[in-house]
């Protein structure tokens, strides 16, 4: 280095790889260390020398995630790195998760992030596409192969380069699909691909991304179950006070029905942009069947109705967003001991 305007690189490690100790140091608080540590020394040789190493015990991260994140992000804010390198964490679940969460948060703040872990590490999901993750084996045996790949990506990102696709560059697909120009029009590609398929060469430009969710077992005792009403019909209080988007929704909402036996016309409406809402607005109980649910509750057909309903507008919602909504709503329902849901779709 000639002392010019060189890029700042930060490296995140767990207690073990930072040399703070083994499992007995898993409760170690976050620390900020000068220069490269452990595997970081190999990055230096490849032109991606870490200026600072951040480290934290895996248990401590898991048990105090909000506080640890706040500390680490404050350091990042202060150091203003161009690139953050996390791991490699190999097959370690806790370490991988910590790397993924930090990668996600740093990525959202505009820092380019390189990580390395097994493709099934919880860190891959946690990163939410915010990092270039180099796939590794489950043990440190793959260290030697992985470090140069990480260093190469980090050095190029530090230079401000735009990376190519995952296959070409050797990182895991981030779940993003970017627009590029093909050599030929879609029409020409369709004809070529069809003729090839008829000749036995089957290929596709896009595959299924949906996951098949196996049904859960039937509710064992309806008479005691807490039942919730969930909808993607865009049902909201009249006037849409919380501004639920009519399409491409980026939020779901929760409204209390604790004191209601019915959703009155003029009190609720549908803002869904994907179907004719006239009938639903005339009787919002057809969007969220509160009237019928209360009647069945009185008859003892099920235990008790959950005191809120959950709503979004399901129209042109990206699958990933819809999946996230489902997970978030399900987590809240589980917390509230809800055992069954009626999901009204449109």
């Amino acid at each position: 280095m000639d002392g010019g305007a060189r890029m700042t690189i930060i490296h995140y490690l767990n207690q073990f790889f930072a040399g703070l100790g083994g499992e007995e140091a898993a409760g170690h608080e976050p620390v900020k260390l000068d220069g490269p540590r452990g595997p970081g020394r190999a990055f230096a040789a490849a032109g991606a020398a870490p200026d600072v190493t951040l480290a934290c015990g895996d248990d401590h991260f898991a048990e105090h995630e909000p506080e640890v994140l706040a500390t680490l992000l404050a350091w990042l804010e202060e150091l203003r790195p161009h690139v953050l390198i996390c791991g490699p964490s190999f097959g370690s679940g806790r370490y991988g998760y910590a790397c993924g969460v930090l990668a996600r948060e740093a990525g959202r703040r505009g820092v380019a992030v390189v990580a390395a872990m097994t493709p099934d590490s919880p860190g891959v999901m946690a990163a939410e596409g915010a990092a270039y993750i180099v796939p590794t084996g489950s043990s440190v045996a793959s260290m030697k192969a992985v470090l140069p790949s990480m260093a190469r990506l980090a050095a190029r990102l530090a230079e401000g380069e735009t990376l190519g696709g995952p296959e070409e560059e050797g990182y895991l697909p981030r779940g993003l699909r970017v627009m590029v120009r093909a050599e030929h029009t879609g029409a020409r590609r369709a004809i070529d691909q069809l003729l090839d398929k008829l000749a036995g060469d089957v290929r596709t430009e896009v595959g299924s991304t949906g996951d098949r969710v196996p049904p859960v077992p039937a509710v064992s005792d309806l008479h005691t179950v807490r039942l919730a009403l969930v909808t993607e019909a865009g049902c909201v209080p009249q006037g849409n006070p919380d501004r639920l988007p009519t399409r491409h929704a980026n939020v779901w909402l929760r409204y209390s029905i604790a004191d209601a036996d019915s959703l009155g016309a003029g009190a609720y409406e549908s803002v869904h942009a994907g179907f004719d809402t006239t009938a639903g607005n005339d009787d919002p109980n057809r969007l969220v069947p509160l009237d019928a649910a209360r009647a069945l509750e009185r008859d003892g057909a099920f235990g008790v109705l959950h005191d809120s309903f959950y709503t979004t507008s399901g129209v042109d919602t990206p699958v990933a967003t819809a999946a996230k909504f489902g997970q978030e709503i399900a987590a809240e329902l589980r917390e509230a001991k809800v055992g069954a849901v009626i999901l009204t779709g449109t």
Binding site: A187, K197, E205, P245, G274
Partner: protein, 429 residues
């Protein structure tokens, strides 16, 4: 199906320059447009006002509230026959509601400009016809980071801004807009009528017999018609209650099929996409060389119930089988709901032993629907891909229009055409 008509001949005239002048006329690649002469909207009681201007690639202009794009065309033998059912008389005979073999569109010579489009714009929200966000933003950028998204960012465009007459019913306003847009397209192309074309392509239908060992390919063209502002028209009539029907490909590219559906712009099948259909042209070109072009089926999308979708997909596949298809190319109309129609059609064809390829546009995170049989898809892009913020010098056709904000690709007219009109695709990153 026997054709009783002369072959269709498409003569194209490349537009190098569009200028405004006192006399509308054509000379050696230079189109002069007289705005007063066009008198747009003058005879339409459902329109309060219509303004016209010409924009060119490189202009710092965002066109907003774009409804449709039309390729200027005229029937050379009799200009009055252009755009049958809308401008000229509809030509319908036979049992089917759109018996294409005897349509006027699809025979004789048509003159058409290349490199020029007529764009219609109307701010339905401001005119009080729709609620906020009921219709999505619809843009063409002539410069800036989004200029390459819509194919109409790289053509010269005659942009017509329509203002509905107070209290006029929506279907009458829309009919007037579509009629005027097609009329202007015809008037512009009519300037070439006394010029002998340098280039003309002859499209015979049924095509000349070809080597029977070549695979027979059928195009399954999905359309939808759900009411005013979401209609597709055959010779001026909305295609509601449509059953899968064989269509004469020449009629489609000769102005019999027109658009009046103004939902998601990137995946909107604009009239220009029917007129210029890359699939129909490529299938004609490949006929006898790599395949046998065995027909076009116009099939409905956006059907309401699962039963209707299943039934229609089955009927479409059966018709393809009757046309002798070895393979079918399925296009998709707009996004969401209609992807299920596409997938069920793919499934129905494959179950009959007909190989398929379908064109679909992705949203972030993938496809709306998928069946295991859909093992050969063309991605026409990712609608949710964001384009960098841009502040144009001028916005025409509306106000605000996301100036200085990132714009999702879905807002750009025809960017992700699921008829395969552009070279855009999406890849993992």
């Amino acid at each position: 199906m026997e054709s009783i008509l002369a072959d269709l001949e498409i003569a194209t005239f490349a537009v190098d320059e569009v200028v405004e002048g006192t006399q509308t006329g054509w000379s050696d690649g230079r189109l002069t447009v007289s705005l007063p002469q066009l008198a747009v909207g003058a005879g339409e009681s459902a329109l309060a006002e219509a303004t016209v201007e010409v924009v060119r690639p490189g202009d710092s202009v965002r066109i907003s509230n774009v409804l449709d794009a039309v390729l200027p065309s005229v029937k050379a033998d009799d200009a009055a026959l252009t755009f049958p059912g809308v401008l000229g008389p509809a030509s319908v005979t036979g049992a089917s509601s759109f018996a294409m073999a005897t349509s006027v569109a699809g025979a004789g010579r048509t003159h058409r400009f290349d490199g020029l489009a007529v764009l219609s714009t109307c701010d339905w929200l401001r005119a009080g016809y729709v609620g906020p966000e009921e219709l999505p933003d619809s843009f063409v950028d002539m410069a800036g980071p989004g200029a390459d998204r819509s194919p109409f960012g790289s053509t010269a465009d005659v942009v017509i801004g329509y203002v509905p007459a107070e209290g006029a019913p929506v279907d009458e306003v829309d009919a007037a807009i579509r009629r005027e847009t097609l009329r202007v397209s015809r008037e512009l192309a009519a300037t070439t009528l006394d010029v002998e074309p340098a280039h003309a392509a002859t499209l015979p239908w049924p095509p000349t017999p070809a080597d029977a060992s070549l695979p027979a390919v059928v195009l399954m063209l999905q359309v939808a018609s759900e009411g005013p502002l979401t209609d597709t028209f055959w010779q001026g009539e909305p295609l509601r209650e449509l059953d899968p029907t064989e269509a004469d490909p020449r009629a489609i590219i000769d102005g019999a099929l027109t658009n009046g559906a103004y939902d998601w712009p990137a995946v909107r099948n604009v009239t220009a996409a029917y007129q210029g259909s890359a699939l129909i042209r490529d299938l004609f070109a490949a006929h006898g060389q790599r395949l046998r072009f065995a027909g076009v089926i116009v099939a409905p999308g956006y059907l309401d119930s699962a039963e209707q979708k299943q039934r229609s997909a089955g009927a479409a596949a059966e018709l393809a089988a009757r046309l002798g298809a070895d393979g079918v190319i399925c296009t998709t109309f707009s996004s969401g709901n209609s992807h299920t129609d596409t997938m069920l059609t793919v499934q129905a064809c494959e179950q009959r032993g007909i190989g398929t390829v379908a064109l679909v546009c992705e949203t972030n995170g993938g496809l709306t629907d998928h069946v295991p049989e859909a093992n050969s898809l063309i991605s026409t892009g990712n609608e949710d891909d964001l384009v960098e913020p841009w502040t144009p010098d001028r916005v025409i056709g509306g106000e605000g229009a996301r100036s200085g904000e990132p714009v999702p690709t879905w807002a750009y007219l025809g960017a992700c055409s699921q008829m395969g009109e552009t070279t855009w695709t999406a890849v993992p990153a």
